[in-house]
Symmetry: C2
Subunit: 384 residues, 2 copies
Amino acid sequence: MGECFVERFEVEGAAKGPLAGLSFAAKDLFDVAGRVTAAGNPDWARTHDPAERNAWAVETLLGAGAKLVGKTVTDEISLGLLGINAFDGTPTNPRAPGHVPGGSSSGSASAVAQGLCDAALGTDTGGSVRVPASFCGLYGMRPTHGRLPVEGMLAQAPQSDTTGWFARDGRVFARVGEALLGEAPGALPGRLVLATDAFGFSDPAVRAALAPAVARLSDLVGERREDLLAPQGLSVWGRAQRSLQLAEAWTTFRGWVEAETPRFSFLVARTLIAGAAVAPADLAQAALMRDEARGRLAALLPEGTVLAMPTTPCPAPEIGLSLPAMDRVRDRINCLCAHGGLAGHPQISLPAGEVEGAPVGLSVLAARGGEATLLAIAEAWEGS
Amino acid sequence: MGECFVERFEVEGAAKGPLAGLSFAAKDLFDVAGRVTAAGNPDWARTHDPAERNAWAVETLLGAGAKLVGKTVTDEISLGLLGINAFDGTPTNPRAPGHVPGGSSSGSASAVAQGLCDAALGTDTGGSVRVPASFCGLYGMRPTHGRLPVEGMLAQAPQSDTTGWFARDGRVFARVGEALLGEAPGALPGRLVLATDAFGFSDPAVRAALAPAVARLSDLVGERREDLLAPQGLSVWGRAQRSLQLAEAWTTFRGWVEAETPRFSFLVARTLIAGAAVAPADLAQAALMRDEARGRLAALLPEGTVLAMPTTPCPAPEIGLSLPAMDRVRDRINCLCAHGGLAGHPQISLPAGEVEGAPVGLSVLAARGGEATLLAIAEAWEGS
């Protein structure tokens, strides 16, 4: 199956730093000085010059002493949740051979899961860190929207874009997070909410596979109750996020697309066209639903409370799905990821179970700005 | 600029035949035994086996003694009128360097115009022989719909698809036509209709450039009058043909697209998606307009009458247009080509003039089945 790197090279980190001895890779959406950010598309690469400086996230990890070992495959211009790239190939999912790795941070997740580096940078707009973390059995973080700088990271939909990361080991994951966030792991939370709609929406096999992890998380946290994540409907939130994100992505890429008429896989072209076709009235309605989602998550997640849900409603599908089958999987995944773009709360996916040998992740959300709580959970998860 | 051949090779024709001594190329939409028909798209090539036998048109020209010298570049799966292929490149237009050659039979027109072969096979669904003939200053034929077999030619929209051909020389053009049609050039027509709406729709510079050719054609034919081609509107016919053709193209390619999620240029993906999105009520309306167009052309073109109009409303645009600019040119060209798919009458484009050095063609339409009349005009045009 596919290579996870688009380019391998080494850039040494600062001689002394908290991440000395660790290696990392960067999704090829992050600038690395002197190299072209290809963004998973040959015509993007062809029409852009090499980056003049490192992206903020790359520079920060290098400054903390980690060594950069290469740039990784991404779904074209970060549009995709499955990790399929018709130009660069589909990176191996070493935890579920023959299955997709998840995307769009596919190569970063694959490289970490294969043990080719300790950590990797990804981006998450609509699920692009969370989904591959779930499918490859990794720790993955989507931070609070707006918390980490996105300088030098290729924008897709700025109102939803975030810089995230992966690791195999919870302690490494927390150390990388500390370097990026400038904040040490905090206290464990005291209250846990289980999102019954999200568990109910998932495959029964996923619910069963995650049950032991849910019990373990309950033991770590203490008080536990059940509630709905999205009273208006996970699918209603999913549609709102998709309208907002794709319309914004079209705004981002339209000038380039109209100037260059680039090559895309049919799926990616269709996604862009869907963004161009969002009606203004639907967009306005979606913006109202985003306000509702923000209100809902603020109410559910005061400081000291976390929410648990399946990261994805299913494990990684097999490679080779037809387009209608991919659409169906993508739409289902989107229903469980949409709150990220809508409300911007931080979320980690923990390695948590397997369905017929394929990993599925358990996600934990915190209050906005509550990453320290999530890092504490990751450390405890690794140790427990 | 771009290569016109995707593959060069030689297949000798029958030892004795009316086309002995002539060479031809085939658009890479026609099967050649033992070779993959790539149809201008790398994923079409990847997912199809080599052809078992020659397409009817290839076999017929070989049987008549012509030598096949290669397969030529086409717009992806024949969807395009400008001759731009993001994978194979844009074939040179030797008559207007820096301008597109027209498409989708771009490589065939380019090869003939460059003198690399005497004739070439193309296909014309919505203008794919007529447009490159006009832009490259060649003779080009779109025969009566249904007259020539399409076996071994990749279908796009079978209700509009035809097998056509190009030549630089009117006599060679007529000889190739005789071999394909099984019919010698006939008598010159006695009555000429000038399509005032089509001339009026064209760029003023095109009208001026074609004026001497119109006078010359009038002299050849004799009686002359003016009339409308499309009383309902060239743009109304254009929209009807585009709806019918694209909806049918989606029916043709949908299974493959959904199974393979192929790579396309953004323009081609968008065209397929437009076909998928045609509303049933619009399709039904378009089918009624096709009935009207058939009635109109039958009334305008009894046997012995021909109609003249500009093949294209403009000469070849420059390479490098933005997508909105390409859309505008494509839509304008479609207004002058739509009658072909709607009514199925035979049409030749004659080399007829130049606008700032770039060729423009004068088209002549005849009654259905009236190709012999058009071959006679081509011979006379070369000689006059």
